[in-house]
C-alpha cells in the first residue's frame, strides 16, 4: 500500500515537472518563432525599400537610357489603341483606357 502511494506521488511529481518543462520548451519555441517573425518582417521591409528605390522613375529612366540605350518616344511614335470598336461621333471623347492597353 505504501509502495503504491509512493509510486503515485512520484508519478504526480514527475508529471508536474514534465508539465513545467513542457511550458518552458513551448515558451522558448514561441520566443524563437517571434524572433524569426521579426527578422522576416525586417527582411521584408528591407526588400520593400530596395524595390521602391530600384523602381523609382528616375532610376528606371537612368538604366533605360544609360545601360539599355533607350530614349523617350516622340508623339508620333506612340499610338494609343482603344480596345474594341472605335467610338461613335456622339460618344464623349477622352475616355480612359487601362494603361495595359497602351504602348
Amino acid at each position: 500500500m505504501k509502495f503504491l502511494a509512493g509510486t503515485v506521488l512520484l508519478a504526480l511529481a514527475l508529471g508536474a515537472v514534465w508539465e513545467k518543462m513542457d511550458i518552458y520548451r513551448t515558451g522558448y519555441a514561441i520566443e524563437e518563432l517571434q524572433a524569426r517573425k521579426k527578422q522576416v518582417q525586417q527582411e521584408q521591409k528591407t526588400l520593400q525599400l530596395e524595390f521602391a528605390r530600384l523602381t523609382a522613375p528616375d532610376q528606371i529612366e537612368r538604366v533605360a537610357v544609360s545601360r539599355l540605350g533607350m530614349m523617350r518616344p516622340r508623339y508620333d511614335q506612340v499610338v494609343l489603341v482603344q480596345n474594341g470598336s472605335p467610338p461613335s461621333r456622339t460618344e464623349p471623347a477622352g475616355r480612359v483606357v487601362p494603361a495595359s492597353h497602351t504602348q
Binding site: 525586417q42 521591409k45 528591407t46 520593400q48 525599400l49 524595390f51 521602391a52 528605390r53 523602381t55 523609382a56 522613375p57 528616375d58 508623339y75 506612340v78 499610338v79 494609343l80 489603341v81 482603344q82 480596345n83 474594341g84 470598336s85 472605335p86 467610338p87 464623349p92 471623347a93 477622352g94 475616355r95 480612359v96 483606357v97 487601362p98 494603361a99 492597353h101 497602351t102
Partner: protein, 571 residues
C-alpha cells in the same frame, strides 16, 4: 514577601511595556497597511519596477498605385550606461573605430553622470555587427525606427519629414503625425538591486499598435514627369523658383505637386527655406491667368457674350489717370479674342460694367482670400483687399491679375471649377488611411465647396480658353497634339521693393489649363518665378505645360480625340 512583590511589580511593568510595544506596532501596521496601503504599494512598485516605452512602427506612405514613398525600418542605435564603463577612454577609442566618430566626444559622454547616453543613433546595420563583436561593458545596441524616403527629392515638399525621434515636423509627416505614429506600448520589468531589468512581467506588457499607412492621390509617374520638366525649365531660364500642380478637376484629387528648388527629406538639414511648400504658402500676383475669374464674373452676370465686340484702343487706355497697355495694338476684337490675346484693355473695359461688390463676390466664390482646406501644412489665405480698401483703380487692376495675391493651389482649383462645370472642389492629397495589415480604415471622398458659376458660363469660358492655345492665341505652345486643350497664359510683373512700383525685369510666368477640354481629366498649373532668359508665360510656362500634359495623358491612357490624334480599334 518583599521579593515576591518586587517580582510581581517587574512582571506587571514588563507586561505593560510589552503590551504598549505591541499596541504601537499594531498602530503602525494599521497606519501602513490600511491608511496608506495604496500609496505605499505604488511606491514599492516604482522602486522594484521599471516602465519601458516601446515605440510602434511608423506607418508607410504610398502613392495611388501603391508605390512606396516613405517607409520606416528598424536600424541599430548605440547607447552607453556610464556607470558600468570601467575605462571610458579605452572604450571610447575602440568605439570610435567602429562608429567612425570622434573618440574625445565619445569619452566625454561616457564620463557623464547620467545613467543613459546615446552614443550614435540610426547606424548602418553592418557597423552594429562590428560593435557587438567588441562586447564592451556598459555599451548596448537597440533597434530604433528610421524613416526612409526611397524616391529622394521627389515629392519632398508634400511628404515633409520627421525628427530622429520619429515626430513629424513638416508636410504630411506633420499633418498626419498622430495617424502615422501609432500608439506607444509599455513594458513593465522587474528591477534587481542594482536597478537592472530582470524579467518581464508578462501580464504588464501593453503591445504598441503600429502606425497606420497613408495612400495618396499622387501618381508617382506624373509627379516625376512634373518634377523633371519643371527642373529643366527652371534651370534653362535661370529662374528663382517654380511650381507645378496637376489635379483631377472633377474630384480635386492632387496628382502631382512639384517645386523647385527642392531638398532631400532623407537629409533635411539644409536650408529650412527650401522646405516651404510654395504651392500653398506663397501668394503671388497672378497676372493674366486671373482674367479668367473676371471673365467668368462678366459672363455669369451676362454683361458680355463671347462674340461681343470690344474696341482695343490700339494698345493704350487711360483708367483713373493710369495708362493701361497691351502687348499688341488691338482694334476691334470679340470678348473671346480679348482673353485669347490676353488684352488688358479689353478686360478692363469689360469689368468697368461690373460692380465692385459683384467682382469681390466672385473672387470670394472662386476660393481666393481663403484657405482651400487642403490636407497639407502651411497653407495661406492669399492676399485680397477688403472691399472698403479698394481704390478707384482696384477693379481694373484685379481684372488684370494685379492688387491681389493668390496661392498656386487656389488658382488651379479655380480653373478646375471652370473645367468641372462650375463646381469648386476641395483639393486633397490623402485618399485612404489603412491599417498595418492593409485594411481600409478611412477613405476620403471628393468634397464640393460651392458653385461660383453655372455650367453654361463654364462651357463658354472653356470654349474661349480653347482658342487661347490655337493660332492667334498667346498659349499656342501649350497645345498638345491630339487633344483639345483649354488654357490661359500669365505674365505678371513683380513689385519692386525699392520703388514700390512694378519691376520691368522681375516677372512671374505662368500657364494654366486643362484637357481634354470637353471632358477634362487633368488641370495643370505651371508657375515659373523670375525667369532670366525670357519671361512670357506663353514661351516659358506653356511649353512646360505641354510636355507634362502630353506625357501624363499617355501615362493615363487617355485616348486622343482630335484629328491630329489617332484612334485605332484593336481587333
Amino acid at each position: 514577601m518583599m521579593e515576591e512583590d518586587a517580582r510581581r511589580w517587574r512582571t506587571v511593568v514588563a507586561g505593560v511595556l510589552l503590551g504598549l510595544g505591541f499596541l504601537i506596532a499594531l498602530g503602525r501596521l494599521f497606519h501602513l497597511q490600511v491608511l496608506h496601503a495604496e500609496e505605499l504599494a505604488q511606491l514599492a512598485g516604482r522602486q522594484h519596477q521599471k516602465i519601458l516605452t516601446v515605440e510602434g512602427g511608423r506607418g508607410a506612405i504610398s502613392d495611388r498605385n501603391g508605390k512606396i514613398l516613405a517607409i520606416t525600418m528598424e536600424v541599430p542605435s548605440v547607447f552607453g550606461a556610464p556607470k558600468y564603463v570601467s575605462d571610458p577612454r579605452a572604450t571610447a577609442v575602440r568605439l570610435s573605430r567602429v562608429l567612425k566618430a570622434d573618440a574625445r566626444q565619445l569619452e566625454a559622454k561616457l564620463k557623464s553622470e547620467r545613467d543613459f547616453v546615446w552614443l550614435q543613433r540610426h547606424l548602418a546595420p553592418e557597423r552594429a555587427e562590428g560593435l557587438q563583436s567588441l562586447s564592451l561593458d556598459g555599451i548596448g545596441v537597440i533597434p530604433e525606427g528610421r524613416r526612409f524616403y526611397p524616391k529622394g527629392v521627389m515629392l519632398s515638399h508634400v511628404l515633409g519629414f520627421g525628427n530622429i525621434d520619429n515626430q513629424g515636423l513638416e508636410g504630411l509627416e506633420r499633418r498626419y503625425d498622430a495617424v502615422l505614429r501609432g500608439e506607444r506600448g509599455r513594458l513593465v520589468v522587474e528591477r534587481d538591486a542594482f536597478g537592472g531589468a530582470v524579467f518581464p512581467k508578462g501580464l504588464n506588457y501593453v503591445a504598441p499598435s503600429p502606425g497606420k499607412d497613408l495612400v495618396l492621390t499622387i501618381d508617382e509617374v506624373i509627379q516625376y514627369i512634373a518634377e523633371q520638366e519643371l527642373a529643366e525649365a527652371v534651370t534653362r531660364t535661370r529662374a528663382a523658383s517654380g511650381v507645378v500642380i496637376v489635379v483631377e478637376p472633377k474630384t480635386g484629387a492632387l496628382l502631382a505637386m512639384a517645386m523647385r528648388p527642392t531638398f532631400d527629406p532623407n537629409e533635411p538639414k539644409a536650408d529650412p527655406n527650401l522646405w516651404r511648400n510654395r504651392a500653398v504658402s506663397d501668394a503671388y500676383e497672378p497676372g493674366s491667368t486671373f482674367k479668367l475669374v473676371a471673365a467668368a464674373a462678366a459672363l455669369e452676370e451676362k454683361l458680355v457674350s463671347p462674340d461681343e465686340f470690344i474696341y482695343g484702343e490700339n494698345g493704350q487706355y487711360v483708367v483713373e489717370n493710369t495708362v493701361v497697355h497691351d502687348h499688341h495694338k488691338n482694334g476691334w476684337m470679340t470678348f473671346a479674342q480679348v482673353l485669347q490675346r490676353s488684352s488688358n484693355i479689353g478686360m478692363v473695359k469689360v469689368v468697368e460694367h461690373l460692380a465692385p461688390e459683384k467682382l469681390a463676390w466672385y473672387i470670394n466664390a472662386f476660393g481666393f482670400g481663403q484657405k482651400t482646406d487642403v490636407d497639407l501644412t502651411g497653407e495661406q489665405r492669399g492676399l485680397t483687399k477688403d472691399l472698403r480698401d479698394w481704390s478707384r483703380r482696384t477693379r481694373a487692376s484685379i481684372a488684370m491679375g494685379q492688387e491681389i495675391g493668390v496661392t498656386p493651389l487656389q488658382l488651379v482649383m479655380a480653373v478646375s471649377a471652370i473645367a468641372n462645370g462650375g463646381w469648386l472642389m476641395r483639393p486633397y492629397v490623402v485618399s485612404e488611411v489603412r491599417s498595418s495589415t492593409g485594411e481600409t480604415i478611412a477613405r476620403f471622398e471628393p468634397v464640393v465647396r460651392r458653385r461660383p458659376i453655372s455650367s453654361q458660363t463654364a462651357k463658354a469660358l472653356t470654349e474661349i480658353m480653347r482658342g487661347a492655345v490655337l493660332p492667334g492665341g498667346t498659349g499656342t505652345l501649350g497645345a498638345v497634339p491630339g487633344y483639345d486643350v483649354a488654357g490661359k497664359t500669365g505674365t505678371a510683373q513683380k513689385t519692386d521693393p525699392l520703388t514700390g512700383g512694378y519691376s520691368a525685369t522681375r516677372m512671374v510666368s505662368s500657364f494654366v489649363g486643362f484637357l481634354p477640354a470637353d471632358d477634362p481629366k487633368l488641370a495643370i498649373l505651371v508657375v515659373v518665378d523670375e525667369p532670366q532668359t525670357e519671361h512670357w508665360g506663353g514661351t516659358v510656362a506653356a511649353p512646360v505645360f505641354q510636355r507634362i500634359a502630353a506625357q501624363a495623358v499617355r501615362h493615363l491612357g487617355i485616348v486622343p480625340q482630335t484629328e491630329q490624334g489617332q484612334i485605332l480599334a484593336a481587333r
